[in-house]
Amino acid sequence: MKAALKVGFIPLVDAAPLIVAQEMGFAAEEGITLDLRRAPSWSALRDMLSFGHVDAAHMLAPVPVATAMGLGGGSAPMAAISVLSMNGNVIGVSRDLADRLRGVGHRFGFDDAREAGQALIAAAPGRLRIGVPFPFSMHAELVYYWLSSLGLPAPQSVDIRTVPPPLMSDALKAGEIDAFCVGEPWGSRSVEEGLGELLLPTRAIWAFAPEKVLAVRDDWARAEPALRDRLIRAVWRAGRWLGDPASRSLTGELLSRPEFLDIPAETLDRALSGDLVISPSGEMRQVPGFVEFFKGAATFPWRSQAEWIGQQLAGRTGLDRGTAIRAAREVFRSDLHREALRATTADLPGASSKIEGALPVPTAVSSKVGKLILEPDSFFDGRVFEPSEF
């Protein structure tokens, strides 16, 4: 009898590792079945995990960190045992704002965060209203980081509003927001509906940002070490399969099924291929590495990634930075990830923390097999983040 794990997900392209783990048989290889449950919202999914209605969940990377810092309600402590995806979000604007951007001479190059951000600030009709999916999300953190670095003091002079991804187009239409930052396919969806234009992939702000994690309850991680390891391995193999370009069209078909995303495969393929249609008139932009599931040890939960998130959250909520960073680093379980993959061919890094933003080009680092090359991870403003252990 196979052990069945209940796993919650939000209909997004980056839920792919969980869906693929079940549908392509990687879970079965580990003797487990993933009972996939689609959740209506991030808060609902967090509560389903917290109250034991699911064993594991697709989760915004900052949610377990925020929980550890005591932000956002009394959820049970969580552990991020794998990173599910890197990058994969887009920033888009309303058609009106797109016209104003063209008015100030912006050419929608889709690769220069500084230029796009300055144009956005110059073209804003007033206080910018930007929709993000959740208060604790990489979307919110990257938008705050981007705009403050360009001299727009955030959160004071920008209005960041929570809008659930499927409602982003409606909010644009109702004039509730001027711009948004959202995961695919919802940005492409707004283009498809003729309501929005895409300004920038978030990859242009931070070239290798952790996006979603595989979260479990901390007590579950302790109580079920065998299941935990099997789950990590199944999802890691799914990530490896997803990293192969040959898997792309099948992935699109799989995700488009009604029980998963229920969005045409053609729209999903834009994120998977990095060939994005940025305006309703059909202009296209190529974004290599738009979303990454495997390359550059993408699945590895670096302690330093959690620390960066903790620092940013502390900065805007007024909490103590040192306490936040200490709480944050305990949540990204590089130790459990490494433990589960010990007996596999996974080439994991020797360290558990790195200086974030220090790699302008692909760089070989010390690893188990010795062939690991990390992807460029620069911030657009050239800053670096030194984790606490350095």
């Binding site: 509560d47 956002g72 009394g74 208060p135 509003r161």
Partner: protein, 194 residues
């Protein structure tokens, strides 16, 4: 300040909203407002300043409430999801029934109990109805497919309805599949050939 608790119910379906309001009225004397439009949620909560917000777990707008937990302007009151890990596990029961409750700063948890009890009972009923509806729809859908498959067999083999059904049932038993799956395969395959 009045002692009557004020409650906001977020529910787009008018009938359901009325039923919830009715159950709450039976549970006590409350000031109840219903919000149906998700995009204006935050604004209306600021305007009404409720003590409790009740929202369907399945409502994606729920994430908008999370943002208000961080709102801490001088005139804003923090909103937080009601989490109670005590033995009677009110929160767990609520989440199981599909309702989440948000409470505003300074509210005593014991005053929430009658409200949540009433809401939980009502939402349990909604959940049962939702399951029943889904089941009925599925059964109807399966019935339709089986009827179409029967029709095809009758035409292709010149048999009557009972014989066509027997052929289908035998095929399903031989292959160890559900009757509906066999019928579905036949209908799909026939669609490809026509």
């Amino acid at each position: 300040m009045s002692d009557t608790l004020s409650i906001i119910v977020v529910e787009a379906d008018r009938d359901r909203a009325l039923q919830i309001v009715e159950s709450l009225r039976e549970a006590g004397d409350f000031d109840i407002s219903v919000i149906s439009e998700p995009t204006t949620l935050a604004r209306q909560i600021q305007a009404i300043q409720p003590d409790v917000v009740l929202i369907d777990m399945a409502n994606p707008s729920r994430d908008m409430l999370e943002e208000m937990a961080l709102a801490s302007g001088p005139h804003e009151r923090a909103v937080a999801m009601f989490v109670d890990r005590s033995a009677d596990g009110m929160s767990a029961a609520a989440i199981e029934a599909g309702v989440s409750a948000y409470v505003v700063d300074g509210m005593r948890p014991d005053r929430l109990k009658p409200i949540l009890d009433a809401a939980i009972a009502r939402f349990r009923m909604f959940q049962r109805m939702r399951t029943e509806l889904a089941e009925t729809k599925r059964a109807l859908e399966e019935r339709k497919v089986i009827d179409r498959a029967k029709g095809m067999i009758m035409k292709a083999r010149g048999v009557d309805e009972d014989q066509a059904y027997a052929i289908l049932r035998k095929a399903a038993m031989d292959q160890g599949k559900r009757l509906h799956d066999v019928a579905n395969a036949l209908v799909t395959a026939a669609g490809l050939l026509s």
